[in-house]
Amino acid sequence: MPRRRPRERAWSTESPCHGSPARGYTGGTLDGQASGNLVDPRQREQLQLAMTALAGGDRSAFHPVFAGLWPVLLRFCRHSLRDLDLAQDAAQAALMKLFLHATEFHADRDALAWALGFAAFECRTTRNRGLRRREENDETRLLALAGAGSSPEDTSIEADLSSAALEVLGSLRPGDAETIHLALAGERPAGSPAFRKRLQRALERLRIAWRQTHGSHD
């Protein structure tokens, strides 16, 4: 019986997607590799075999998986998020989660689809986080506006009332007007019954003048 040959590696040590170690990520910039075309079937098959071997514990399959998936994940995130920095963050997070769960990969799954699942999840998380942050900023701005003072409508009403009150006050006798001014300014003589009586009469006359000018609630 012929002696069995040692098991040959079915996957290449080259990048399954690009034929060379990944160069897509270059410290903050993207080169053309990350925006290349779709993964061809042969490379996809090699990636599948390498991922299966890695899930089994074959450490020599690590680099081919890394080199094959990183540019694909980065490209996917960039297309999904339309922002280079956010895309890099999301792709990094997806890659870390992918390798953290690499042992749970089953050969009957599609390796590329499995990896893109992580990337899609990270992109959605990043997008939701951005939306939440924007909503929080909007709310903060609105609260700041509301707390800054009265609205333009209130200011207008206040100005109208002030001018009307001054107009009516001006129609009173000078003594009554002076008494009301002193009371509003808080300069009334302490414990003076004469001033209290004078103020009472002045306010009564002011009320009558207001009713004559602007009408009453009744």
């Binding site: 089994g56 514990g57 690590f62 990094q92 749970e104």
Partner: protein, 182 residues
Amino acid sequence: MVPMTEARLERRARWAYELGRAAWASHALLLVLPLLLVARWVGRPSGLVFILGGAVATIAFGGAMVHRRYSRAVLAGVLASLPAFALPVIIRSLGIVRLVPRTLDPCIPASIVAGILAGAYLAARTVAEKHRPSYWLVAALVAAPLGTLGCSVVGGAGVIGLVAGLAVGTLPLVLRTEMRRS
């Protein structure tokens, strides 16, 4: 996230992979630890349980960490050790039986039989694997100490019986492999 070079990213990814692998390998302990608790519960000496259990737990975790085939070997080893673990304890609890004019402790033949069963089971499982020697070694390194926890109720004779049975049970595998080579 801080921008990083691809080499650094690969290093981090490798760490993530090893961390995930360790988490996955820790499941192997779920097979071993209950048996050690049972061994203590049936009254096996704590020193013996600690030493043999520690060795088995280390082998089981390390094996599962290294490769998935060794986690299968750990499972096979645990299953193979069950008769050797349980039979002598069960028979001992039944007491000494009189078979011949002299009294005979049935735990010794039970250990041998349990060893043969374990060896045969391991041989059957090993045949289906590609990396047979390493697979068998890991499985036997798990089965033997766990079986010893049961067989040692009759002392050294039980352990020798287990090891002899394990060797006899594995013999068909060795013979078959040799015949294929020749």
